[in-house]
Amino acid sequence: MITIIGTWIAAFFTLAIFSFLYKDNPFYKFAEHLLVGISVGYGIGLIWHNAFIGYVWIPIINNHQYIYIIPTLIGLLYLGFLHKKTIWLIRIPISISLGIGTGFGVPLIFQTYIFTQLRETLTVFNHPGMGFWAIVSTALLVIGVFTAIIYFFFSWKHKGTVGVLAKIGIYFLMIGFGASFGLTVMGRISLLIGRFLFLFKDWLHLIG
């Protein structure tokens, strides 16, 4: 019974959101506002249960792990923003999280996004037994990386050889944007199909 009621509610709100395609109306507004409200409420409930109860209440009150009081107090300093005189206190938890985050993050970010990517681009031909199309594809990759970087190199004027390379770089970038646009279209259509499958199958049972 609960499932049936849930399905009907979901179907009503799906149609309410779709109604915006005709024109703005109270059903759409109601669905939109309800979504925002529910999302916030769900988020607060979840954080309360998972973060506060899980990491503060249970360890300190139930398990008597009093060491957890220190990070809890530091975290509570975020509430300093509530008053002008205590607003400076929020710098403490922010600086701690920033410091730890940067310390952990910077080496990993360099390694993941720069060093490994660079190494694999430089050694891209170093795979024995590459077929003809693999070589063509790899060559395109190298030319694309090189010319796209040239396009973003602004210390020289984009004239002569540099200009030609930068122009080739633009074409590679445009192909990249085109691919992203195509994928975006695919994604949006998928969402529409998902809703239609829900309406015709789960709600109306028009198909098996």
Binding site: Q117, R119, G187, F196, L197, K201, G208
Partner: protein
Amino acid sequence: MNFFKWLTKIDRRWVYLLMAFVVAFPILTNIKGTIKKPSKSAVKLFKYIDKLEKDNTIMLTFDYSPDSLAELNPMSKAITYHALEKNLRIIGLAPLWPTGGGLGLDVIQSQVDRFNQEVVLKSYLDEIVDSPLIKKYRETNKISVENIKTNITTVVTAYYESDKKTIEVNKKLFDIMEKNNLFTKADKDKFKLNGRDWSYFGYKPGFSSIMLGMGKDIPKTIVNDYWGTPIIKHEMFNSKTKKVKSFEDISIVIDFAAGASVDYLLLYVNTKFGRPLGAGVTAVMAADYYPYIQSGQLVGMLNGMRGAADYETLIKQPGRGLNAMASQTYAHLLIILFIILGNIGYLVTKKGDEK
């Protein structure tokens, strides 16, 4: 000329209506899509999982919300089912998106239920149909023997969600057997049980500390599962011979992502702890992650609903991904037609205006 001018003035709602028709038509007329050649990135991920051995553990992370469910649920279900078929152990959690906590559980639970029902129904097909309990059930619901047999066989071979009535029949049969203690120990050994074959943690706040902690000690970091049970009580985490202690014991982590979670997991899972990472992402994001497949930082990737259809083809279990492919194709053709018409119209009317 007049046609193109008329096109520029057409009410956009007609375009929406046409698109709705093109998407709805294949669904309502049951036109199925096919995948002749699954994408390379999907094949890579499939092959990696397919080569894993019994009792290897895979970790599935669910970082999405209901708005991207249409794209990510079919692929996450397909991978979960593949893992269950391969007798791999599954750990599920939502490390970044609070909304992923409930969605991930639905994915794993639905596939475990499906698998358990199929195991029993496969082994007990004849006995089930002839047993007094089922006889009574058949008579009450006026279902013929052949019908039940057909339904059971269908559920084994066809997609679980494609036939609601079949599921209801099978679920009732399964429930009757369970309630009446008809399952033997041998049956139960084949089932996928929570704590032994799979474990679900739900949403765990504090991404960085959770990831760093799991690199050293998963039970100490996670403490309780989704239902509040200490995970150290689970056989998966306390078994003497094959317990999961840290990322070292995870064969692959696969992230189902509607946001930047793959970036974060690349940092911790792959770079920091050197564990293989796979991804299932929404189509909008997919272009950003191909470089990581080329560099080997990602084992493979499923790209939107097409990725789900690829994986369903590879595991020979048609599902919502494949169901959607016909609509997807027709919608794309219509959009291509719009783009061509729009550009011709623009050029023609521009030329007319210049004159």
